[in-house]
């Protein structure tokens, strides 16, 4: 594992940049565990201070340090994004592979559900869930709801891959040799589907973070929990741009853009490790 990482860092510039960016942002987010003040506390510092030696990224109109707010916000946003991604990947892989491999009635039932989900608009449903749940709306509930909405396109994609794998010689050979359906799916097909899962996972992560930001900016989430969208929400509430408190909005946006960029570069370069053929062509073999 360490060797793989070393070689990827050495030969793959995209991976190096993505790795450094993501690692830096991760360490920055991790730092909030050692923050001098609790992230939810307000009006403990002088408000509206511009970036200076004492407050590196300035303070908000709510008397919080932008640096430490952002650290906690990125952590929470990433946690939300990863939860959505993992839950929705599990759904997408299970539905896609079963539907593609089993075919027939199973395929019809699963794909009818899938296509129905595709037709449903996401934001109105999430708003509906928010209005129904109101005060009991917590981030895990929101993440579960988003995961339930975020798997369907990828399930279709994975189904199409499995559909073609089902008719390959190695599958027929495996069936003949007496491998069971779960064995064939896990051992023969999953490695083939893995790059698709990784790539859609990155798309899904970016989509989930974007969704969280959208909902938080509009105030449809737990607004007291610091997130990137939540920071922008409060900045808008205090009319930060009009008041000239640009650092309250600019730094969270820069952070999220860097996070997206790092994740994206990681995604495309990790694929090269997973798919042995493109790995070799890069090495010039």
């Amino acid at each position: 594992m360490f060797k793989i990482l070393r070689d990827l860092l050495r030969y793959n510039i995209e991976f190096t940049i993505g790795f450094v960016l993501t690692l830096a942002i991760f360490l920055f987010a991790l730092a909030h565990f050692w923050a001098p003040l609790p992230a939810e506390a307000i009006y403990l510092l002088p408000p509206d201070m511009p970036p200076s030696a004492q407050y590196w990224l300035g303070t908000t109109s709510r008397g919080q340090d932008v640096l430490w707010q952002m650290s906690a916000a990125i952590w929470n946003t990433m946690l939300f994004g990863l939860t959505v991604t993992i839950l929705s990947r599990l759904l997408a892989v299970a539905v896609g592979m079963l539907s593609g491999y089993l075919g027939g009635k199973w395929d019809q039932i699963l794909m009818t559900i899938n296509d129905t989900m595709i037709a449903l608009p996401n934001i109105p449903i999430l708003l509906l869930v928010y209005f129904v749940m109101r005060d009991s709306m917590s981030w895990p509930v929101l993440a579960a709801t988003a995961a339930l909405l975020g798997w369907n396109y990828d399930a279709r994609l994975i189904r199409s891959v499995t559909l073609s794998l089902r008719n390959r010689e190695f599958t027929r050979h495996a069936v003949f040799a007496g491998m069971s359906v779960p064995q064939i799916l896990m051992r023969q097909h999953l490695p083939y589907v893995m790059p698709v899962i990784f790539f859609t996972a990155m798309n899904n992560l970016i989509w989930a973070i974007g969704l969280e930001v959208t909902l938080s900016v509009l105030g449809f989430s737990d607004i007291n929990r610091p997130t990137i969208g939540g920071m922008i929400y409060w900045a808008n509430q205090h009319q930060a741009i009009i008041a000239g408190i640009w650092w309250w909005i600019a730094f969270p946006i820069i952070a999220i853009v860097l996070l997206f960029l790092g994740l994206f570069l990681l995604a495309i370069s990790v694929n090269e490790y997973i798919d042995p053929r493109s790995r070799l062509s890069r090495m010039g073999a």
Binding site: R168, E169, F170, R172, H173, A174, V175, F176, A177, G178, M179, Q183, R187, Q188, P191, Y192, M194, D275, P276, R277, L280
Partner: protein, 329 residues
């Protein structure tokens, strides 16, 4: 020991389709009976779409709808243990790979392109061998060496190997459990002649050493001449002639076989080879009587109405009303 390992009786397997209320039935395997002895290589020859692959798939019990067995039976005999492929599918499951292995058509692609070769061996063969992990790999490596492959190939991906190596690997994969019976569907078709020769020699060598029986299919008559002990000629889903390879090549008794053999180029002979008029019949709507009669130069009225049975004649069996009058074309 010349016991029968495989006995196929009156086997009929049809592709049955039902699209938009229109029923279509393609009779790919129609009333085929044959037996294969221990330690024998049996070749099945015939042109494209004559039902060779369907026949062999049906024998292997590896058929999926729309291909269905309509009638007849396929019985294997492994060391006195009789297995009926279509009556006892559960017992067959245990026998596969251990007693019966299958080299599939396009077997260059049998290896999963995104997994190392060793995983294929583990997945397909490990549970059938009943060995410990350590003994299993020792056995696999020994087997690979006998087949002329460096055991290091286990650590490679299929795309890192040449076509010939991959073909050898699939043969190694099919023979590592030392099965009693090997089914091979066009095992050498995608290879060039030199590699083909190598692979054929390998198959023959492995077969002799293990005392297994092989049934294999190819349209390439030279391959049959090279390794088959007996060959069966298939035309339009039916077995039309069967016999020891040398006899079939020297004295074909069915007019179709005579043409097939007559069409082969020979060194020093530059005569133009005549083609058979017409096309192979549509198996969804085969001709009445003998299926070869529309193209047969010897056809008589009887051929149009009555289907000749496959009857013993000299050293083999032949299905033709005028078998005695056929001469090598």
């Amino acid at each position: 020991m010349n016991a029968d390992v495989l006995k196929v009786e009156g086997l009929k397997a049809y592709y049955q389709m039902n699209y938009f209320g229109v029923r279509r039935e393609v009779r790919a395997v129609d009333d085929v009976s044959l037996t294969i002895r221990r330690n024998e290589i049996y070749g099945i020859a015939g042109e494209s779409s004559s039902g060779k692959s369907s026949l062999i798939k049906t024998i292997a019990g590896a058929i999926t709808p729309p291909l269905r067995v309509v009638d007849g039976s396929v019985k294997f005999d492994f060391d006195g243990r009789t297995l009926d492929v279509y009556a006892e599918p559960q017992a067959m499951k245990g026998a596969r790979w251990q007693n019966l292995s299958y080299i599939m058509q396009g077997s260059m692609n049998v290896l999963n392109p995104v997994r190392k070769v060793k995983h294929a061996f583990h997945d397909f063969a490990f549970k059938h061998m009943g060995l410990s992990e350590r003994d299993f790999w020792a056995k696999v490596e020994q087997h690979l060496q006998r087949i002329g492959l460096d055991p290091r190939v286990l650590e490679s991906y299929p795309h890192q190997l040449s076509g010939g190596m991959r073909q050898r690997l699939t043969i190694a994969l099919a023979t590592v459990c030392e099965p009693d019976f090997i089914i091979a569907d066009e095992p050498t078709t995608a290879l060039d002649v030199l590699v083909q020769q190598d692979v054929l020699a390998l198959i023959k060598d492995v077969q002799r050493r293990m005392g297994a029986s092989i049934i294999f299919v190819t349209h390439d008559m030279t391959v049959h001449a090279a390794i088959a002990d007996r060959i069966g000629i298939v035309y339009a889903g039916r077995l039309v002639e069967e016999g020891p390879t040398l006899d079939v090549f020297r004295r074909p008794q069915h007019p179709y076989t005579a043409h097939l053999i007559g069409s082969l180029p020979r060194i020093g002979d530059s005569r133009k080879r005549s083609a058979l008029p017409g096309k192979p019949p549509n198996l969804a709507d085969p001709p009445s009587g003998c299926r070869f009669h529309p193209r047969c130069p010897l056809a008589i009225d009887k051929c149009k109405t009555d289907n000749p049975a496959l009857l013993p004649r000299q050293t083999g069996r032949v299905a033709c009303w005028r078998a005695g009058e056929v001469e090598a074309a």
